[in-house]
């Protein structure tokens, strides 16, 4: 019996080996259901799933559909899992817009028409050199009308001649964007410019003296949404990359979309973001293409697009340059997250958009489901 303690200890260790394995806990935001129970076609979505798996849509790594507060489709492809992190590219700017809303609500910024030069003392030499830049406001940044030269829409961002690409070669990305040639007075020309979110990041960091910008986002936005799978990156000067720096799981990316769908409330009805700010972000503020209007960093399909492709179903969305997209369809109470990795594709008309259209199509086939 003198070996009794050792034997008991070994028994406990062996038992604990079996019960202490770390596995992911389930998400608690939504219940699970079948697509057919919320008006989507099981058969169309099965077909879509097989097509994605067969790479008919190039590289789609994750697809989630939330409808009527139920998670009705979730699958991952090409070796990815629920916990896999994906860089979402310029879709990171969606977070920049939400942070700006929070700072306005908390009184750090009075309104969108205040010149940004008030918050950027470190770039005073740029404002002195280009006096017209002193007129750039928050609204100009959000609506892609700051007026500097920027070729984001016409040149693929992964090519060396892209301003986006060149920005990433600099040490101070915000300073680079702000120092570019002023082609038009602020507010006159619309030029897609995601780099402006780096200027916002610099402003946010200047405003938030007590906490870092990453901590602020974590405390005010991500923790209330129970987001756990994400990572941030920084530019070489140490500024949080609010332009392209968020890597996130498909499921947590979906939480952002669901927050937008519910106009700033989370599943427990807690208000995270001011409703008016969400509406400002997601209503057409400036026209961009025949099919696309700009909100504040979020994009909105035009009535023309909807009448041709979606049977007049309205939607707003955000996308990265590889098709990392969230589509929000308010009238169907639906969020669709397509986590793609398709470089060198059109930033609007790409495979993620095709997946979205296929899911909208499944709405119209629902009555044929058995």
């Amino acid at each position: 019996m003198r070996y009794l303690p050792a034997i008991v200890l070994i028994g406990i260790i062996i038992s604990s080996c079996y019960v202490s394995e770390e596995l992911p806990a389930d998400q608690k935001a939504w219940g699970y259901d079948f697509p057919s129970s919320v008006g989507l076609s099981n058969s169309v979505l099965y077909t879509l799933d097989n097509q994605i798996d067969s790479r008919n849509y190039a590289e789609i790594n994750g697809l989630i559909i939330i409808k009527d507060d139920k998670l009705v489709f979730e699958n991952y492809y090409n070796g990815h899992s629920r916990a896999s992190l994906h860089p979402i590219g310029r879709a990171t700017t969606s977070i920049a817009a939400l942070v700006l809303g929070l700072l306005i609500e908390q009184g750090y910024i009075a309104n969108l028409d205040i010149p940004i030069s008030n918050y950027l003392p470190e770039y005073q030499n740029i404002f002195d050199s280009y006096p017209s830049k002193k007129n750039i406001t928050f609204r100009h940044l959000l609506s892609n009308q700051m007026g500097v030269s920027w070729n984001e829409y016409t040149v693929n961002t992964e090519r060396a001649e892209s301003d986006f690409y060149q920005m990433k070669l600099q040490s101070d990305w915000a300073g680079y964007v702000l120092s570019l040639n002023q082609e038009a007075p602020p507010g006159l020309r619309l030029v897609l410019n995601s780099g402006s979110s780096m200027i916002l990041a610099k402003i946010f960091e200047n405003i938030l003296s007590d906490v870092s910008l990453e901590e602020f986002i974590d405390n005010e936005l991500f923790k209330p949404l129970n987001m756990t799978n994400y990572e941030w990156s920084y530019d070489p000067s140490g500024t949080l990359d609010l332009c392209t720096g968020l890597s996130i799981s498909t499921l947590d990316f979906t939480r952002i979309g669901y927050l937008m769908l519910n106009e700033g409330r989370w599943t427990d009805k807690r208000r995270i973001i001011n409703r008016d700010w969400i509406l400002d972000c997601t209503l057409p503020q400036t026209p961009f293409l025949e099919d696309l209007d700009f909100g504040y960093f979020w994009w909105v399909f035009t009535d023309q697009f909807n009448s041709i492709y979606t049977n007049d179903t309205n939607a707003f969305w955000i996308t990265g340059y590889r098709g990392e997209s969230i589509f929000i369809v308010p009238e169907e109470n639906m969020v669709i997250t397509v986590m793609a990795n398709n470089p060198y594709s059109n930033i609007v008309y790409n495979q993620s958009l095709n997946v979205y259209l296929k899911i909208i199509e499944s709405l119209n086939f629902s009555e044929q489901d058995s």
Binding site: M1, Y3, L4, A6, I7, V8, I10, G11, I12, I13, I14, S15, S16, C17, Y18, V19, E21, L23, P24, A25, D26, Y32, F34, P35, N42, L45, Y46, D49, L71, V72, F73, E74, N75, Y76, G79, S81, R82
Partner: protein
């Protein structure tokens, strides 16, 4: 890691057994003495350590599935206890989250306390209760990814009947009721895993009078 610990346990068990034999061998007996050794009935075990393995049929949703078990126990007179690991080996598959099929897996570790209620020459009946903690997991069929997990508690009173065909080896059968608690798991609930259980197995032990 698990295999290493199991080997450690087995090594210690064998060392104990070997140590006893060495101790017996070291007794010097005078050649002119007469020693009469009477072999005691081998069923009169008083204390020892034993290892158990077997299968148990346990409820899963509307059916039953096998659960393997590996148990290490100690016995002192009519009281015994120990620790075991239990691993569901069934094949329960369903579409938990559209459009993917998922396989169920669960395992738990449990402590056991029991008493020998009846004892005859080569037959005994034990009453015992087990309490354990474990994880239930939905595993994606396509890539074996552990997708959703929930912890749970298990309480299981059992009656165990043992038959001793040869020394140090017992065959046993169990009948019990498994009650699962604190499971928070999509598609299945506590009651899906709770119900009558029955099983069988083999126990090997080293015992002293």
């Amino acid at each position: 890691m698990k295999k290493l610990l199991l080997w450690l346990f087995l090594s210690i068990s064998l060392t104990l057994a070997y140590g006893q034999e060495v101790a017996m061998d070291s007794i010097s007996v005078q050649s002119n003495d007469t020693t009469r050794v009477e072999k005691e009935p081998f069923i009169k075990f008083e204390s020892g350590v034993f290892l158990e393995t077997g299968f148990q049929m346990t409820p899963v949703a509307t059916g039953y599935g096998p659960t393997s078990q590996l148990f290490i126990g100690l016995q002192y007179k009519s009281i015994f206890g120990g620790f075991g690991v239990y691993n569901y080996r069934g094949d329960y598959q369903t579409t938990v989250i559209f459009p993917t099929n998922f396989n169920l897996a669960y395992k738990y570790g449990a402590g056991r306390l029991g008493v020998r209620a009846y004892d005859s020459k080569n037959f005994e009946i034990n009453a015992q209760i087990q309490y354990g903690k474990g994880d239930a997991v939905w595993i994606r069929e396509s890539n074996d990814e552990k997708f959703i997990r929930s912890k749970f508690d298990i309480i299981e009173p059992q009656v165990m009947a043992l038959f001793t065909p040869i020394e140090q080896v017992k065959l046993f059968a169990t009948l019990g009721y498994k009650s699962m608690h604190n499971l928070d798991f999509v598609h299945l609930s506590n009651k899906d895993f709770s119900g009558i259980t029955f099983g069988f197995g083999i126990r090997c032990g080293i015992y002293q009078q």
